[in-house]
């Protein structure tokens, strides 16, 4: 009776030990994936910052005005040649 119990318990112990090894291995993998994703997030943050900077640089009023004036031949409007439409007005 005791002999059988011992065999069962030993088998259980070995199974538990192996499952610990397995779960540790899996955890290591998951931690590694998490770290990869975290560094990916950091890189995306940097990219976002870079894009915001680019947007600000390219959207600079100075640049827009220059392009509007020289490339598109635009001129600022003046009230003298502007027709204002007011809702309910004459």
């Amino acid at each position: 009776m005791t002999g059988k119990l011992n065999v069962v318990l030993t088998a259980l112990l070995v199974a538990c030990a192996l499952s610990v090894v397995n779960s540790r291995y899996q955890r290591n993998h998951l931690v590694n994936d998490l770290e990869k994703l975290a560094s990916q997030q950091r890189q995306l943050d940097i990219d976002w910052t870079q894009l915001q900077l680019d947007q600000s640089t390219l959207g600079k009023n100075e640049r827009i005005e220059q392009i509007a004036r020289t490339e598109l031949n635009m001129a600022p409007l003046s009230p003298a040649r502007t027709q204002y439409l007011t809702e309910g007005g004459q």
Binding site: R27, N28, V31, N32, E35, D45, I46, T49, Q50, Q52, L53, Q55, S56, T57, G59, K60, N61, E62, P76, L77, S78, P79, A80, T82, Y84, T86
Partner: protein, 589 residues
Amino acid sequence: MKAGANGSRVAAGKGVSFSKSPVLAVRLPDWRSRVVLFVLFAAFAALAGRALWVQVVDNQFLQKKGASRYMRTEELAATRGKIFDRNGMVLASSLPVKSVSAFTEDIKDAPPEKLRELARLLEMPEADLRKKLNSNRSYVYLKRQVEMDVVAKIEKLDIDGIDTRKEYKRFYPQGEVMAHMVGFTNVEDVGQEAMELAQQKALAGQPGSRRVIKDRLGRIVEDVGMQREPHDGKDLHLSVDSKLQYIAFNSVKDAVEKFHAKAGAAVVIDVHTGEVLALANWPTYDPNNRAHLTGEQLRNRVITDTFEPGSTLKPFTVALALDKGLIKPTTLFDTGTRPYMTGGHPIRDTHPHGVIDVSTIIQKSSNIGTTKISELLTAQEMWQMFTKVGFGQAPRYGFPGAAAGRVRPYKSWPIVAKANMSFGQGISMSLLQLAHAWLIFARDGDIIPLSFQKVTEKPVGQQIISPKTAAQMRTMVESVVGPGGTASQAQIPGYRAGGKTGTAQKVIDGRYSQTHYVGNFAGMVPMSNPRFLIAVMIDDASGPVHTGGGVAAPTFALLAANALRAANVPPDSTVTDIIIPEHPLEESN
């Protein structure tokens, strides 16, 4: 000796081997083996004890040594907060870069062609690079804040002794236009000027670190725990509007060039919220490239420079007398045709105006008129008025280096002081203080705090003059910006504008200069419901015109017209043809 030698031969001859000779058999006492046994046992016991000691009782040291084989402390960088304008446009932002440095001992044997390539990548002459490498120190910085793509190329060169370290670089996409508003940081990412300095604490991040376990490939397999939590810096949303700032900046820049002035400045304030929408200076600098920076470029003339504004201050004395019920806009004063003597000093007008009412005194900017009005007031009342609107008071704008200006205590005012201050002499302030004080006319007589950050709550004002007085003053300053006023050049097609010019003689070596002037203008648009309060200052115009009406008023008009258009403010006037008299009236000082 001989006998002994024979003896041994004899012994051998007897057939007994030397080693078995009973003569040589030694009888050892028993205790000796026991001692040896005991000593050996004790030595082993000592080893076991020691092992127990270092592994169980005092195990810290070995634990630490063990941990250092697999545990690593990882630095967690914190980024400095970004700075945005009111519409979410980035004004300042940090990106990771690397510093390139060298261990001088290790790099000595590097092949010269690789060093030449390194110098090219670092954009420095090869001689300079060699000089740095030949330094006595063992570790030298070659270049700070090198961008990542360049660093990748340098690392590819694979030179021994080259070290790169991560750091941050601040970028300012709007460049010189925003320089005086945003400021800049130094190479260590610490704020040095303007908002970068004022908000250093909030913007700066707090780097952290954590303990991790790495496997043999350097991959992190376990996060043991945080040592210090990293905190990124907070983002900052400024009140400034990029578009208005650009308009203000260009107006100031053009005016300085057109009028051959030394410098210029302008500030635009939102009348309803007290937010500073634009703050422009010329000369300025590019915060991205600060190699040859001078004090002239760094100076923020709107905030740190004080000047005696001149006639721009007249409305305050008039408003005070109106508010106390001492005068009405229609009250007549005889300004005469000759200088008016007060306290032994002559007060002059540039043109004789004769008998005119209070509105005309403001419209024509009569010194004698305001002097006579100031005679109705006590020094204390005037001092209180100036103090309440912030003159001579340390400003709390949350902006570094803000000047307080100077208002002398009323008890020490000489007799002529009241007259002088009524037209803006003997009292100094910054352009921002002047603009701030003018809010009482643009609003209904109350003053609200200024803000450089976006305002979300309705500010609480402090009533200075009654709403009725404020409305009367608005009518008067609107008449200034008309064909008969001193600021006819401040007219804006399609909009009603109001304001007041000022021309101050600069104080040079303690005396009023007759050749150096500061032309300024403070005004509001549109008059039907003031939205922007704009103050302009043109310093030391050396062209044919130098007065506030001649240099600052047209700058104001240009700035305001573009600002109104950019902000989609509907026109409140049908007048689109501007009439500027051939010889515009100039104010007296």
